[in-house]
Symmetry: C2
Subunit: 385 residues, 2 copies
């Protein structure tokens, strides 16, 4: 089995040919208008209005056009200033402009925020290729990784590779509806400065000004790998927590699964993206805080909880609960299993592997403590002892 060597983020960036960088005022577009997409666009529009020297006031938001209650969704957003379909009840700033045409939306924009479901990324990137501002920078709000049996790719690296633009990412303990209601939360933006950075370019200060709100605190790091890995693997951990909670094993057991999950996330970073930082997992909102929120509810937790309570299979519960949608953690658990198995690293991930076996091979949840115990010493390098 040979693996094609993948380029590093930095190698890819070095191939991007920038000249001098567009200065302020920056023009911002959100590619995506689901609940989180609309919510982040709202935040940006609040900030562009307050910072007219740094940003063009109007924030554009690409909206996949659809009818809602007899009107076009873009009309509803632009006239009523509410995304009645995906974020009902939340007043949007009137400098947020819905645009149904993707290329029209991104035209002239030098800050592009990606906030669409994972499965649409490829198609969107194809349409955008060659049609964006040549000096644009990007931030991906998409969760996750592209994993195959040989390797792991960051979604931000895919954006960089396809469009030739530098791309960071944003993630954190950010349930969209809470942020939309301006309840206090924190987020993490991973944005290492590009190698062709010049004064006046997008940097920490510009990002902070664009995203930070009194109710939405931003912390900026460089570790895109750590943020991306945490965003993907947390969903597997949430399944494990759902299992033990469904069996009513109590708070200690839930905390144990979260802790072991955190250690395996760190280990995964260490083995597959050695540039990832332990501190990102342990101390950032996109790490430990997002793990907390993901493990206390959400689709992955609930699927596992119901499996434990009813004894039904993952497939049966998915059909009952999710109207044909998949729980992301289920897919990720399978992808990670195949990757680590292929790399002969299964023993490094006893929690992830056991969750995979429970999900896909009918193994009993009750085996979890035994599996973690047998593998107790394996992850020892992660521990402090």
């Amino acid at each position: 089995m040979t693996t094609t060597p993948k380029k590093t983020h930095i190698q890819m960036l070095n191939e991007v040919n920038y000249n001098s960088i567009e200065m302020a005022p920056f023009r911002v577009v959100s590619v995506g208008s689901g609940n989180w997409g609309t919510c982040v666009a709202k935040i940006m529009a609040e900030n562009t209005r307050e910072n007219p020297l740094l940003f063009n006031q109007e924030v554009k938001m690409w909206v996949y056009e659809e009818e809602f209650e007899g009107r076009k969704l873009t009309d509803i957003i632009n006239e009523d200033h509410v995304n009645a379909k995906y974020l009902p009840g939340i007043k949007l700033p009137d400098n947020l402009k819905a645009v149904p045409d993707l290329l029209e939306a991104v035209k002239d924009c030098n800050i592009i925020i990606f906030n669409i479901p994972h499965q649409f990324l490829e198609g969107i990137l194809k349409q955008l290729k060659g049609n964006i501002h040549p000096k644009a920078r990007a931030i991906s709000c998409l969760k996750g990784l592209r994993v195959d049996e040989n390797d792991v790719e960051l979604l931000s690296d895919i954006i960089t590779k396809e469009l030739g633009i530098h791309c960071g990412c944003l993630a954190g303990a950010n349930l969209a509806i809470e942020v939309a209601n301006q309840k206090f939360s924190e987020t993490t933006i991973a944005y290492p400065l590009p190698s062709d950075y010049v004064a006046g370019d997008l940097d920490d200060t510009v990002l902070y000004t664009l995203f930070h709100r009194p109710y939405f605190h931003v912390h900026i790091v460089e570790d895109i790998s750590g943020v991306s890995i945490a965003g993907a693997l947390k969903n597997i951990v949430a399944i494990g927590v759902g299992f033990v909670d469904g069996l009513q094993w109590g708070e200690n057991a839930k905390a144990s699964i979260m802790r072991r999950g955190l250690l395996e996330m760190i280990k995964f970073g260490e083995l597959f993206k050695p540039d990832s930082k332990v501190a990102t997992f342990c101390q950032e909102s996109a790490g430990v805080a997002d793990l907390f929120t993901t493990c206390t509810g959400g689709r992955n937790f609930k699927l596992a909880y119901r499996m434990a309570q009813t004894g039904k299979s993952a497939n049966e519960i998915e059909e009952e609960m999710l109207n044909g949608q998949s729980a992301q953690g289920l897919i990720t658990a399978k992808e990670i299993h195949e990757l680590v198995k292929n790399r002969r690293l299964t023993d490094e991930f006893p929690l992830f592997e056991t969750i995979y076996q429970i999900l896909f091979h009918g193994v009993s949840i009750g085996i979890l403590p035994y599996m973690l115990e047998n593998k107790w010493s394996v992850s020892k390098p992660n521990y402090s002892g």
Copy 2:
């Protein structure tokens, strides 16, 4: 203001005069028989029975004698094998022997487990002084620190200082009733080998054999400072989480407070016990996992939750809820405030300080995001960015 220089753990140990060390079979005593004391004694008795070459089978448990339903509590434990008052419904091994006399209990024992409420420690140590096995080793299951306005002392160091014996500690995400019911959990034991260690002495293997069960997984580290600090400061964080949950700010806000709390715990270690390890806070059961469980319930969380819901003061809620008992986090918040203020380090702990101000000076909970935002850059060295 001058501060008396405190001896380090190692300095104190070097003053202890051991000769050769008592070998197996070790004789074990639990000083304390509350719910956690009884639960840990039960675990040890299960393990001593399975390892007769390493341990004397009988585990003694000092019980403060009292009447319960017309019988002596020690009689109930020794005849019915249940601690009907403090851990009702849990069958205890019959090799666990309740002893009402403290000195009789510890006699000949070379492993002494301390598991009593903090406030009784001083009195117990006075009685024990000069009356214990001269080569005994100790493990403290007491939570917390002794804090005054000048410095912080580990409870294990107090035990070492008073009795002249090496002392580690045990803590983790361990709600006693769940562990007693043999639901899966993990714990952390901090036990650096003493400077006079000789082969056959208490070590990681002996500790693992004494405490590890299929349902109670043990991980052993050296960082007593980190485990002790986490055990004390988590209670302040739980108050903060109770505040924001009481105001129904949602899961994001709770995760933010936990994350900021974790960072301030690490910062506290860095400033007051520089031998503490970041990994203990972030990756051990006694760190992040215990923080999870403490922040999802318990006395400190509930007190704060009720304050937020009712607008009443901490004192009023304490009187209503706790029957005259104090929430430990309330005391710790005050002690830590005084210490860091005296050391002019208040700015390093915006979360702890704001919680103190809310608890004791009627400051509004709503100020929390503002306080954390203003102090945003202060803790930056803790972050990975």
